[in-house]
């Protein structure tokens, strides 16, 4: 396939990271870059392109095989087909992304992207090395089964990835209301990267925020609650191997210690444990909500 939006956009990625750093240095924009954090983000991005090449062949071959057994034949030249694949791919991305946060096996792959305590354009490039192994590419196969050519789906996935790059910034605060209503924006995605209990597991959108509004996972950014970025339990190291594989290793350790709970360790939500000694996002949010209610009651008394 010769048209790859991500490869074409790579010079744009580099130039805009440079621009954000220089403008922040000149106090023209609000952005923070820490040297080691930036290095980890960018080398994770570089590593993910290498890892992606290693598994891309298998996933593309699977898509081609499924396409040979398709229901319809959808022409790549029709405008309606591009509109349809845009909407369907974006909804697929929403569910892929939600799964990647709500089930530990897939979180193990996606956690890398959230492990920076910063939110800048380099964070966008902090991509997983293990996405191919996690097998989430299977979620896009139904599009080929419907009849969208695999190249068309791959291009749309690339467009989505490129779109999601520019929203990783604190430089842009809010966009006009009609845009915030329909599209994923820097403001919506800041919420997604925040570790504040109120913001956990919200705003899974790729390009269109409408999916979060439809499926009940939307949370606007609130001026009274600034985003604190990173993980519920932040990393204590810049070692890139630990950054890339820590959750996979933690799963393996749990499986070895208590194999009887293998299903829970693998497919429970992140933070699940058989004895309840750890906390899931749902539990963290519930405890936070209870504290809010108690605080209000105390104020009223």
């Amino acid at each position: 396939m010769s048209f790859d939006p991500v490869t074409l956009a790579t010079p744009f990625f580099i130039l805009t990271v440079i621009l954000e750093i220089v403008l922040a240095r000149l106090n023209k924009v609000e952005a923070r870059y820490e040297t080691k954090d930036t290095a980890v983000s960018l080398f994770m991005g570089l590593g993910s392109t290498v890892a992606g090449v290693l598994t891309a062949g298998a996933s593309f071959a699977a898509a081609v095989w499924v396409y040979h057994h398709r229901i319809f034949t959808i022409p790549m030249t029709a405008v309606w087909a591009w509109i349809a694949v845009f909407l369907l791919e974006d909804m697929t991305y929403y569910w892929f992304h939600r799964l990647s946060h709500e089930r530990r096996f897939w979180w193990a792959s996606h956690v890398n992207h959230h492990s920076s305590q910063h939110y800048n354009l380099s964070t966008a490039l902090r991509q997983t090395w293990t996405g191919g192994v996690a097998g989430t590419w299977l979620l896009w196969l139904p599009l080929s089964f419907l009849g969208f050519p695999p190249a068309m789906v791959a291009i749309e996935k690339g467009i989505s990835l490129v779109y999601q790059y520019w929203i990783h910034t604190e430089t842009i605060r809010r966009l006009p209301a009609p845009i915030e209503a329909v599209f994923n924006t820097p403001s919506h995605h800041r919420v997604h990267h925040a570790r504040n209990p109120r913001y956990l597991d919200r705003n899974y959108a790729g390009i269109l925020i409408i999916w979060d509004r439809m499926f009940g996972s939307f949370q606007p950014e609130l001026d009274e609650e600034p985003c604190r970025y990173g993980l519920v339990k932040n990393l204590g190291t810049f070692n890139i191997v630990r950054v890339a594989f820590h959750e996979w290793i933690a799963i393996a350790q749990d499986l070895v210690r208590r194999p009887r709970h293998a299903l829970g360790w693998l497919f429970g939500p992140p933070g699940w444990s058989p004895d309840g000694s750890r906390e899931t996002s749902t539990e963290i949010k519930a405890a936070w909500a209870a504290r809010q209610v108690a605080g209000e009651a105390k104020k009223a008394a």
Binding site: G45, K233, H246
Partner: protein
């Protein structure tokens, strides 16, 4: 992997190195004052909102802190211009040996395997049990 891809990776690696160097030159990390007790307590409260803190020991170099909360020790360490926290059994923290003005705490977490806290004295006599 063909030659074009390898060239692309090599050029990207050079670009990454240049961007990291630029970030280092720009010095635009978050400003970090040494921790004091109030700031340490605030950071502990963010990550352990349900825990009651009985005592806090702030590192002499201001880069970390240790707190006792019942049978648990809460550990705060600086990483870059941010912080990370963990909890370990108090008995393990109290048993840590002070060497060269530092205690090293082993944490059973592959994502944050240890914390080093600079302290004048350890363990505290009145809370060691």
């Amino acid at each position: 992997m063909n030659a074009a891809f390898l060239i692309q990776v090599a050029v990207s690696a050079l670009a990454v190195a240049a961007m990291v160097a630029l970030a280092a030159w720009a010095k635009i990390a978050r400003p970090q004052a040494p921790l004091d007790e109030a700031r340490a307590r605030a950071l502990f409260a963010e990550d352990f909102p349900e825990r009651t803190i009985e005592a806090v020991w702030v590192a002499t170099d201001g880069t970390g802190a240790l707190a006792r909360s019942g049978a648990e020790a809460l550990v705060l360490s600086r990483l870059g211009d941010g912080y990370t926290t963990r909890q370990i059994p108090w008995a393990e923290a109290a048993a840590a040996a002070l060497r060269d003005g530092r205690i090293t705490l082993k944490i059973a977490d592959v994502a944050a395997p240890r914390a080093v806290i600079a302290l004048d004295a350890w363990p505290p006599k009145d809370l060691a049990a």
